[in-house]
Every structure is written in structure tokens, then in C-alpha cells.
Point group: C2
DNA sequence: TTACAAAACGTAACGATTACGGTATTATAA
DNA sequence: TTATAATACCGTAATCGTTACGTTTTGTAA
């Protein structure tokens, strides 16, 4: 998902593309990994002093709803990143910088037969550690 | 992990086996799945009216430290269950009742070569849905 | 049984998130 | 371009789960 597509998607669904909303897209495009609501607020404060929690959380939730962002939960915090869902995949997540790397392996194929009478509604597979860049520091 | 082993483990490590601590073990033995701190507090209130958050959270944390309980995070809440770590495994978790089923599949073998220069510190693989019992209701 | 370290109490503080009523901004079409 | 209605935003308070604190109580081993 790039910024242009995201804005197009917003307008298609009848949402307005405001300055703040565009800035949020720029932030996540540059981030290239998971970021928290707090991270985003700190960034937006630079351009929009006194920005409201309501605005930030509402837009994060909206972006997740329409598929612009994807989300995970880590250490009691919800994290967000640009959605890159052309195909199903999972992520390595760097514990230091939040950057992610796509993993194409998905174990669900092997799992289905082990859960014959179970209704599967979702799954989560994530790998945590340090990316090459953060190991140098 | 059963109650006897847990109490033995506690004493080995120099911790006291108090009435509340034993009751917590009984609760998780019966639960047979993930439970939240709030669930546990509600249960303990029956026998110990006015029990402190501090007591509950401290003991959950302690039990996790010494390996009596294992833990995961779901919908902004930390969940706990009896540790059954004879061998490495993952879980199906029922969205209704919290009960778990062991899954022996672990995708990490296939992942290592895809993350050659990454320092892997942990991973999470969970499947969510409804167990056979909860599909009937 | 006594001493003392550990555990628990009661409660306040915390961080992340959600909620609200009022105001401002935006997209669209006349 | 302006009017209008829908949407977005503000400022702030409330909520939820969790953590922290000083004091009191309890379990255990000498």
C-alpha cells in the first residue's frame, strides 16, 4: 500500500483526505515497520501542536478498518504498520526499531488436519528479535 | 504441571506456599485453558473477600517466572494457563471459553534460513477459533 | 515460641485507550 | 464560489488493565 492508493481508497469509501490524514500516511510510509499510537502522536505534534488523542486513535482504527494499516499487539500496546497484503504472509519484528521483514512461511496448512472439529477463525505467527542493522549498534 | 509439582517447585525456590497461592493453583488446574487476572480475582473473592490486586498480579508474575504458568496476550489483556512445557509446542485457543489444544507443528525450522542475519529472540504462533464444545452452544 | 523474611492489604498512581459534546473543516453540488 | 451537510477535530474526562507503595500480617525454621 502506497500513499496514493491509500488516499484513493479513502475517497472511494467516502472519507475525507485531510492534512492530518495525509501526514499519518507519510509517517507510516517512512516508518517501514510497526509503530505505536504514542510514536505517531509525537510525530504529529511537530506539525499539529496539541493534536487530540481522539483524532489519532480514530484514524488508526479507521485505517485498520479499510485496510490501509495492519496491526498487532505487543507488550500491552497496539502497533500499526502499512498494510502490504498482496498475499498472505507473516513478519519478523525487530525488538529495537520495530522494522519488519516478510516471512512467506505459513504453518496453517499443516495445522488444519490436527484441528478437524475446530472452527478456525484466525491465527498469529510472529518472530521477534534484532534486525541486522540493530545488531551493529 | 500439576499442583503437587508446583508446590514442590515453589518451596525449592524458597517461596512460601500460602493458602491463596494454593487456591490459585487449584483454579488454573480446573480451568484447563487461558484465564485473565480479572477471572482469577473474581474466583478468589469467593474465598478471600477483598483480596488485593497486588497479591493477584504478584503471584501471577511469580508463577510465570518460575514456570508454573505460561502466558499470552490477547485483546489488551494478559492471559495465563498452567504450563505444560515438557516439549516445545503451540496452542489453539478458543475465543469463547479460553480452553486450549496443543499443536505440535512449529514453523521455526523452516524460518531460520530465511532470517540468516537476524538474531531471533522469540516467536509466537497461536490459532484462534471455537472449540468443538463451544460450536454446539 | 519467637524472630524475621516473605506475603498480603488497601489504596493510589500509571499508561494506553476510549468516549463526549461542542466546534471547525472539508467535499461536493448548486 | 458559496452554501450546506457530513465528516473530522478539539479538549478533556473517564475507563481499563496493570503496577507501585508503606504498613500490617503471616509462614517457616531456629
Amino acid at each position: 500500500m502506497n500513499i496514493e492508493d491509500a488516499i484513493k481508497l479513502l475517497k472511494e469509501k467516502g472519507y475525507k483526505a485531510t492534512g492530518k490524514r495525509k501526514e499519518i500516511l507519510v509517517y507510516f510510509e517512512d516508518a517501514d515497520g510497526y509503530r505505536s499510537a504514542k510514536d505517531l502522536i509525537q510525530h504529529l505534534e511537530l506539525s499539529y501542536e496539541g493534536i487530540s488523542f481522539d483524532t489519532v486513535y480514530r484514524n488508526l482504527y479507521l485505517y485498520n478498518e479499510v485496510g490501509i494499516l495492519e496491526t498487532t499487539e505487543l507488550n500491552g500496546e497496539r502497533l500499526f504498520r502499512m498494510n502490504c497484503s498482496r498475499h498472505h504472509h507473516h513478519h519478523f519484528i525487530c525488538n529495537d526499531c520495530g522494522k519488519t521483514k516478510e516471512i512467506s512461511v505459513c504453518p496453517m496448512d499443516e495445522v488444519h488436519h490436527a484441528l478437524a472439529n475446530y472452527a478456525i477463525e484466525g491465527h498469529k505467527f510472529e518472530i521477534y528479535g534484532r534486525c541486522p542493522g540493530c545488531q551493529l549498534a
